[in-house]
Symmetry: C2
Amino acid sequence: MPKKGIEEIRERMLQSAKAGITSAYKSEEYALIQAVNAYMETDKSYNLAYERLSEWYGIYYPEIRISSPESLAKLAIAMSNNGADAGSIERALGNAAKAEEVKKKAESTIGRKMEADEATAVTGFANQVLSTAKALGELDLYINGAAKRVMPNTTYLTDHMIAAELLSRAGSMERLATMPAGTVQLLGAEKALFKHIKFGSRPPKYGILFKLPEVTNAQREIKGRIARAYATKICIALKADYFSKNFIAEGLKKSLSESLKRIKEKPIKPKEEMRRDFDRGYQGKMQGRRGAGRGRGGWKQGYRKR
Amino acid sequence: MPKKGIEEIRERMLQSAKAGITSAYKSEEYALIQAVNAYMETDKSYNLAYERLSEWYGIYYPEIRISSPESLAKLAIAMSNNGADAGSIERALGNAAKAEEVKKKAESTIGRKMEADEATAVTGFANQVLSTAKALGELDLYINGAAKRVMPNTTYLTDHMIAAELLSRAGSMERLATMPAGTVQLLGAEKALFKHIKFGSRPPKYGILFKLPEVTNAQREIKGRIARAYATKICIALKADYFSKNFIAEGLKKSLSESLKRIKEKPIKPKEEMRRDFDRGYQGKMQGRRGAGRGRGGWKQGYRKR
């Protein structure tokens, strides 16, 4: 074959490989995964920064406790610039009664006096907290839109953040949509799951799905069952999102709420009975595995035995 | 005693207790500790955010690699708003040749096409990276000033960030100034130290002092000795900073550089000889402790033995 021919083929091969990469990234799910990862990380930084700011602020005004990061940051900025000025405190907190209380406490504070360059540093850090809050808002806005486009059924059943987190854990819609319900139920609980397999601790009941208000607010004994019911319906919704692209979530939600009603109406077994049932089933299943036959607390026993 | 008298006394006691707290926080060291903690945490968030941004950006332009967080953020903002426009890329990178290269790569990219709302989300996140960089700069400015005021001698010997980190680890100037040199040398290496005590691994040679360029750039065999020389002089400097408030750092720095010269000129023992000496001394010292007599690698052995 002449040299020019080979080079031409090579060129065409490269072209098609590049086109393959481009088309693989064509789906919006990859942007969504990046966005939700960025959101979760920024959220962690945000909480740490808030705690740090409230500790720092505490050496000047130990009496003042503000539980909202944004209010604290705004208050810190206002008071660093204008001192205990009633108007600016009220503008920061948006609440006249609370502002009055804060002003009173600030005037008789036992904390350190804030020097000018300390005020600049605190203001800078408080601004950082505020801009992190703004970035979180922007990311949330995008995630909301993208999750509704990529997985409309799942988002309808749960909410955009939980749907996006499930996607991020799975890595792609293809993998997520082909997962069995039990895997979806435990996405995000990998650590507890492997502890169970390796050391025989109790198995986890939910991972990311714990964030569903229905699960969080349920009675302890039925939390796992509710998570399971959600997982089965989410699995169907995911398949619709990825394969058929039909919107079937309304029917799903209806049948889900019926299942939830059934679960809640079923009488709950007394604790001792449940434990006995669990240990019996568990001892049978765990035969031959590491840590097997130790019953509940097996992980701790195995861990302590050095 | 009449009731009024008791209440008066109680009031006066409370007053004096409050005054005690205020005067305990009078020293600037507490503000400095808060600032350096905030700096270290923000720095961690900053690095994580940069990595996340470069991953996210990588799905659109996998060919473009930028190692500076700020340049990457500026580039992401410029290209999200104006596409691959030569002028705005150059303004973001501040380097015409690099901008030309980036523009070329961006035009023939194999990555995903950036949709409008993805561009908004990326811009928002890149702005967050930039504002974090700004906050870091402001904190550094304050730490620089405060460290020079609180510990002028120590700052002169090392630098403001290392001096402030030592203070933050120790918790107060009083505790730091009364520490022995060996403790100062290992501040920040607590984990390695306790591993050594508990499992018999090799002892750490330095903690925070590893950040000194003199230590970082030294030959492996003499790093520990250089850290030790620094720690002894830092200890003297700290005592001057806390007790006498004299500026003696120039003399200290001179005698320190002489010690460093001596250490560097001393011939280095061959590796085998050093190991033998270490193991011999070590086995004697570790008698009667857990993991004793196991020699090097003791920690691993102890850990594996379940």
